[in-house]
């Protein structure tokens, strides 16, 4: 699904954002991208969105090498990628329904498709009752759910989230994570860049850690920090064999029980 091969990216006059990074992510995986600020997480996401090109190395995404995609085809690449940000990026003058529908409108989906798909995805994120509210009438968590709905309404192959819970309290964050997990179970590859140690520790999914552009850890059922917990997890299979990462079914992810009962 996604493959980085010796990818290096340096911004003008600054340190290396990504340094000789090689990683493979299979279809249907759920991956946390962790590391301190400036470690290259956002660059990783931007490269996947083809907002940046690597200085060297190659990136494959959905079977295509993205360095070789013509500029005018980039929009078509992005239609396979859903995207969620820390600041929600909702349009303030559009209702919840319109915000989600917008993602379909601008790629030219016909009205009847919009009328069918938007309520479905609003149901999935639990916002059916708020469909006619404006973003400022919603809580932060609800706004982020709208953003997730917008990212997912087109049924993308990949869902990227850059600090999706950065502005949210822990309880609300759990709700968003649960939602992303549910989306992952539909077969969508989910990649989350995050600082949220608690969340990563609870979810026990694959963790890729970056530090100053270097890939320092790739762990199947990892936690946020490298500490005794790693050993406790007992799943410290380091970088390499992706065979262990079966597409996540309900059983694959160690989803905390507390989440399963939460609405």
């Amino acid at each position: 699904m996604i493959k980085f091969q010796n990818v290096t990216k340096t911004y003008k006059g600054s340190t290396v954002a990504l340094n000789d990074c090689s990683v493979e992510i299979d279809k249907g995986e759920f991956v946390f991208l962790v590391g301190p600020s400036g470690s290259g997480k956002t660059t990783f996401i931007r490269l996947l969105l083809r907002e940046e090109l690597p200085d060297s190395g190659r990136i494959w995404e959905a079977g295509k090498e993205i360095g070789h995609i013509a500029k005018w085809r980039i929009p078509y690449l992005r239609r396979n990628i859903g995207c969620v940000f820390q600041d929600f990026s909702l349009l303030p003058n559009k209702t919840v329904f319109e915000n989600v529908a917008f993602a379909l409108e601008v790629i030219g989906r016909p009205k009847h498709v919009i009328a069918a798909q938007v309520p479905q995805v609003l149901d999935l994120v639990g916002l059916t009752k708020k469909r006619d509210n404006l973003p400022h009438e919603l809580s932060g968590g609800e706004q982020q759910r709208v953003a997730v709905a917008r990212a997912f309404v087109n049924r993308p192959l990949i869902l990227l989230a850059d600090e999706p819970t950065g502005n949210l309290d822990p309880t609300t964050s759990l709700g968003i994570m649960r939602l992303l997990d549910r989306i992952n179970r539909t077969g969508t590859t989910v990649i989350i860049a995050t600082h949220d140690a608690g969340m990563v520790d609870q979810m026990r999914r694959r963790v890729i850690e970056l530090d100053r552009g270097l890939l320092v850890r790739d762990q199947a059922h990892g936690v946020y920090g490298i500490d005794s917990a790693t050993a406790a997890a007992g799943a410290g299979s380091p970088t390499g064999s992706m065979a262990g990462h079966a597409p996540t079914g309900a059983s694959a992810g160690g989803f905390p029980d507390s989440l399963a009962t939460r609405t």
């Binding site: 005018w72 690449l77 992005r78 239609r79 990026s89 349009l91 790629i107």
Partner: protein, 296 residues
């Protein structure tokens, strides 16, 4: 992916309305500059019409000395007939010229000359009015000839006045057209700025570049077209207002406006040209803004 025209026009109109003060400014600038372009074109066409009229009426008059012998007079007549650019000449007697002068000139001027002093003349119509000078050079100073006169100088003065006017009009119009483009560019830039969130979301969810660009370009096009429409109204009211639609008749020979009279097709052509320039200004201004500020 085809972009629906309904979507493009809806978005463009919404943007224009949101930014209406700048929109009005841009439209007015386009209108003023295009009105100048249109009027100067009208003036140019009228002037060349009138010039043709005047030149067709150009005569060279060879004045014969009152004292010239009959042989001299007849040899002048024969020589005039030899030149190919002279269509035909009519000989006028002293008496005819004297009476004509009395009719045209004020009494105190015509009173000082007598019939005997007055020259007889050959009135020569020319095939090509520009050859009037040649006739002058050929005949002036020949025995028996007093002088040769032709109205070339007046026509030249008239033409150069019109030419200068035209240049002034056109250069003012070009400057105004440039500022109109810049104003359109600025309105589009403000529209893009007002919608930058929307644009960034559009890019993220995979809207094609043309899908993002077209509404903004349509906006510029509408501004150019509306400005052109106002300018066309100005040109038409100039046409009817000063009576450029008056047909040329024998009766209004002396009326300069009537001499400049233009046909409906010529005015329609001018209007179409004005509209086209409006479209080009709108599209170029907005295309530039989109390239520069939209980064798609």
């Amino acid at each position: 992916m085809p972009v629906s025209p309904g979507y493009v026009s809806r978005e463009a109109v919404t943007n224009l309305w949101r930014n209406r003060l700048m929109t009005v400014a841009a439209i007015l600038t386009v209108a003023v500059s295009l009105a100048l372009v249109g009027s100067s074109l009208l003036l140019k066409q009228g002037a060349s019409k009138a010039t043709v009229q005047w030149q067709n009426g150009v005569q060279a008059i060879v004045w014969v000395n009152p004292g010239a012998s009959p042989t001299q007079v007849s040899s002048i007549g024969t020589e005039l007939d030899q030149y190919p650019y002279i269509k035909h000449c009519i000989a006028r007697s002293q008496a005819y010229d004297y009476n004509e002068a009395k009719a045209i000139l004020p009494a105190d001027e015509s009173g000082v000359t007598t019939l005997a002093d007055y020259p007889s003349s050959f009135r020569c119509a020319l095939n090509d009015p520009s050859q009037a000078t040649a006739v002058y050079q050929q005949f002036v100073g020949k025995p028996g000839i007093k002088t040769v006169s032709y109205p070339g100088q007046q026509i030249k003065t008239m033409q150069s006045v019109i030419r200068i006017l035209q240049w002034v009009f056109l250069s003012v119009a070009v400057v105004l057209l440039l500022s109109a483009s810049v104003l359109i560019l600025n309105t589009i830039r403000m529209a893009i700025f007002a919608r930058r969130r929307e644009v960034s979301v559009m890019k993220l969810v995979g809207a094609t570049n043309w899908f993002i660009r077209l509404p903004f370009m349509a906006e510029g096009l509408i501004q150019g077209l509306l400005g052109a429409a106002v300018a066309v109204l100005v040109v038409l009211s100039l046409y009817w207002g000063i009576g450029l639609d008056t047909a040329r008749t024998a009766a209004n020979q002396g009326n300069i406006i009537a001499q400049m009279s233009l046909g409906g097709w010529e005015v329609a052509g001018t209007c179409i040209l004005v509209a086209l320039v409006g479209v080009v200004v709108g599209v170029v201004g907005s295309a530039f803004a989109v390239r520069r500020f939209l980064d798609v």
